[in-house]
């Protein structure tokens, strides 16, 4: 469905995407993960065939976006990061005119619109103005709009950012149903739980490059351990006590010393805790949990805040 080799995008001096190889296969849900500024959105815009590539090669649905843009876009569904709904039209007309942009005949658009309003539970709002909708409803309308042409490939740029937990779960459920129906999904997100829920395969992007690639499970296996033990110690004096404690448990696994706790990456978290106690250390709180994609993400892209 998508094949990129050495794909680059630069804006003047700034290089947003610095040469990435990506393959997305039919029917899978593929994720781009990364902190802000990693180059996810630039990549998505190139795939959406609205942003000319600066270097390398890109093939979408077997076509070249530079020459077959309209033909490619006719088979894509795009759900942009910010809702770009038509605020001058009501809910129903938004879907209707958007469907017409794809050249779908009037009668067919009308029945498709009814179906989609039902699918995203907005039938009752069909005559409402867009500005009167809640954030979650707007997002659902944007999703419905991206489906109006029965796309082969659906691009979702941070689909659940800014939604409340209920709305997120409803959306996940809808995306899962689409995937079951055979639609290929490409998702960017910085929510790890979202990536774990939805993606069959994903790449972690950082500073315009791909830092890792694989299924969520593979990535956890490769870049983290099965479990993580989180240890919290009472801070007894002014000098950094965590550093001192860390020195005593260095051999138990990969350590990460944070201001408020120490993380120990290990195949067996309980064993780590037992050993910590054996060595006469007395954490005030302990937690053993499974490694998540978030651990992988933080390991690969660092904990420093990106603006």
């Amino acid at each position: 469905m998508i094949r990129a080799r050495g794909l680059r995008k630069s804006f003047g001096e700034f290089e947003a995407v610095k040469g990435i190889d990506v393959d997305v296969r039919r029917g899978e849900a593929f994720g781009f993960l990364g902190p802000n500024g990693a180059g996810k959105s630039s990549t998505m815009r190139m795939i959406a065939s609205v942003s000319p590539i600066s270097g390398g090669s890109l093939e979408i649905l077997g076509m070249d976006p530079a020459t077959d843009g309209p033909a490619i876009r006719g088979r894509l569904g795009v759900c942009p990061q910010e809702d770009t709904l038509d605020n001058e039209l009501n809910v129903r007309d938004n879907l209707y005119i958007y469907g017409r942009y794809f050249g779908i005949p009037k009668g067919e658009v009308n029945s498709r619109v009814d179906e989609l309003l039902e699918f995203v539970s907005l039938t009752e709002k069909s005559r409402s103005k867009v500005e009167d909708l809640s954030g979650g409803m707007k997002r659902r309308l944007t999703i419905a709009r991206s489906l109006v042409n029965n796309p082969d490939l659906l691009l979702l740029d941070e689909p659940t950012t800014g939604l409340d937990p209920q709305a997120r779960h409803v959306l996940w459920d809808q995306l899962f149903r689409l995937k079951q129906a055979g639609v290929t999904l490409v998702i960017t997100t910085h929510y790890m739980d979202e990536a774990e829920q939805l993606c069959d395969r994903l790449v972690v992007m950082d500073k315009g490059l791909i830092a890792a690639e694989g299924s969520p499970r593979q990535l956890i296996e490769e870049h983290s351990t099965r479990e993580v033990a989180e240890l919290r110690f009472a801070i007894t004096d002014e000098t950094n006590p965590h550093e001192a404690i860390a020195g005593k448990i260095e051999d138990l696994g990969r350590l990460e010393v944070l201001p408020d706790r120490i993380l120990v990456y290990s195949p067996d978290g309980e064993e780590v805790i037992a050993k910590v106690h054996e060595r006469g250390l007395d954490p005030i709180a302990v937690l053993v949990r499974r490694s998540t994609l978030e651990d992988v993400f933080l390991k690969l892209t660092g904990r420093t805040l990106v603006d």
């Binding site: 609205v50 006719g74 038509d86 039209l89 942009y101 794809f102 042409n149 082969d152 129906a181 055979g182």
Partner: protein
Amino acid sequence: MSAVTHPPLGRAGAAWLLVTRSFIVYKKNWKLFLTGFFEPVFFLFSIGIGVGQLIESFEVGGEPIPYAEFVAPGMLAVSAFNGALMDSTFNVFFKLKYDKLYDQMLATPLTTGDIARGEIIWGQLRGSSYSVAFLLLMWALGMLHSWTAILALPAVLLIGFAFSAVCMAATTWMTSWQDFDKITLLQLPLFLFSATFFPITAYDGWLRWVVEVTPLYRGVALCRELTLGQVGWESLVSIGYLVVMGLIGSWVVRRRLDKLLLT
């Protein structure tokens, strides 16, 4: 769900979808649409007929006519001019900058060329629909002197096209609402000095040449020649002028949309 492929939109069909969209928007706000009609009518009645009563004799091309019939074709051209400006300036700016309307269209098979054509045609149609209403008013008041007045219909479409294209092109360079002061600053003198209320012969020497090459003057002169039945070579010059102006404007709009939206 299986992909259904549809025959690709023709370029004309694609541009027409933008017109359809504007039509749906204004169908619900038709009162907003009406305002553009009244301004030139008020000018016709106040200046043309009112002030006209103070003027005893007035000649155009050697023929004596009532002053109001001199002003009316000017207002005919002005209706198309003002109407075209309404959508191609403020509304285009809003859609481009705040509403991100064109970004959503570009996620579909539509191209920047379709958007440029569609929006220009809409501005053109809005402007000329005011002119058509005004032309009917002139007919009702017995102000049409020749069969050539029917050609004022394509003429106002041409005026609408030329101004819609050029103003939309200018709008792509605007960065804030304040920038539109520049358009207003041009709009008023064009309206007042394009031989709308007094003949071009009022100007001498180089000033006359300046007025002769301004676009609204070409539109006013063309409408006047057609409604008074005084068509000549000069009419062809005006037509050529407006066609070239519209085509250049359209070309610039497309180039600018490429630059602004396909980044």
